[in-house]
Symmetry: C2
């Protein structure tokens, strides 16, 4: 373990989740760790920020090599309070967000609080890795995610000065035993979208309610360079993520229309 390095860890499942603890333990192999996670589960919080209410930061564990905080805000708020408050003036070597319970491949990257926090960290010019497994079970097996997460973290830290910034990786690990994983595969985000089936019921007071439940529609199931393809074939998918959402092709199509 290199004590020279400082790793920031966050997630979206809350500071008590099994995945967060696994990420903290993994990060500890690479240096000192400061971790801030939401007080409560914040799945699907995307890049959300808290504007209209105050936020509370609470230390839940502290030793020389490790500090863990719970924060009342969103995952992105956690990254913001880390870099613009707690870690100001300190060199941070890496952001790890996760380990998320559930895949953030394809368009899930846009809904994901895990990836929201990773993206936000990368905007502070620190390499960021969002690490997720394709398994929603609260007691999911993290062995493969830890093994391949370790390889990817080591590779990024070894190449950190050679890679441009911002650098943000969306890493997804298939749902299988570690020894069944076929390897690491650089991928692009699969095209597709979610279609919801609203679960409709009536509450005890007679009010109808909805609950979101849907299925991902893969628009290119045969494309072998995508993250969904990689996961289905038991590869760990790695998609580098950027934040320019401009549709440059559409810019040309709109010329003359507007």
């Amino acid at each position: 373990m290199s004590n020279d390095r400082l790793i920031f860890v966050t997630n979206d499942d809350g500071y008590q989740s099994k995945g967060f603890r696994a990420a903290v333990n993994l990060a500890r192999e690479f240096g000192r760790v400061i971790a801030i996670a939401p007080e409560r589960v914040q799945s699907g919080m995307s890049q959300a920020i808290t504007i209209t209410s105050p936020l509370f930061l609470r230390c839940v564990e502290r030793s020389e090599e490790l500090e863990i905080y719970a924060f009342s805000g969103t995952p992105v708020d956690c990254s913001k309070v880390a870099f613009d408050h707690l870690l100001v003036g300190r060199k941070v070597d890496l952001v790890i967000s996760g380990i998320n319970h559930g895949s953030n491949a394809a368009i899930n990257v846009m809904y994901s609080g895990t990836m929201g926090a990773a993206i936000e960290g990368s905007l502070y010019n620190v390499p960021a890795i969002g690490l997720s497994i394709d398994d929603h079970d609260a007691d999911a097996d993290f062995e493969g995610a830890v093994e391949y997460g370790r390889k990817i973290i080591a590779a990024v830290l070894a190449s950190t000065d050679m890679l441009p910034r911002p650098l943000c990786l969306n890493v997804n690990v298939p749902r299988c035993r570690a020894e069944e994983i076929a390897g690491i595969r650089l991928s692009r985000q699969t095209r597709g979208f979610w279609r919801e089936e609203f679960y409709e019921r009536t509450d005890p007071h007679g009010r109808g309610y909805f609950w979101l439940t849907g299925a991902f529609q893969n628009a290119e199931p045969e494309a072998e360079d995508t993250d969904e393809w990689a996961l289905r074939h038991r590869f760990v998918s790695v998609v580098p993520v950027q934040t320019d959402m401009t549709d440059y092709k559409m810019l040309k199509a709109l010329d003359g229309v507007l």
Copy 2:
């Protein structure tokens, strides 16, 4: 007004906001309107979705030409319940999200609930326009936004069959009187990020709290093809938005590293 058209309107400031009412009235010029907005202010909610709790939908106004609903979820939840529940089987011609109180230019597109809902709508293959003004005042002057919003809506509806899908426009209107607006300018998203200054105070019970307050750092203030430049020069900026977040340049840089 064409009664053949059906327009879906949503926003992130809640169904009672002045901007939402302005968007509904503007949409009414182009057809029948079904509008669903959050029960409460949902600024900064990004692409967030509600997974872990039930959602309630409530009709607040209904006539032959106009239906308005309040929904207990996020802006994206509003788009989802519209297209996967309320409007299933009906042809929708346009999504209008807004009018938002505050600019969604540059990286704000990622934090914005207004744009989250617009993007979500575009994923249902319906042209979507997120409309915002660079003014946070709850009683902001929407005259310019309405005038230029009207022009852009008319142009999109007139060209709807010629333009590829998904089609999502991030439209931002400068803070000035309508007659001072210099025109419409197709732009790309400005590079830059927010740096926060956490406002720190102590609550009545002695607990310290934080409140997010920051400033946008424009990484390319001189670039004349950006949305921030357009707004500063009193143009209405129009940025087409896409959802592939893959960093293709970084994919090449990572080849050999991973």
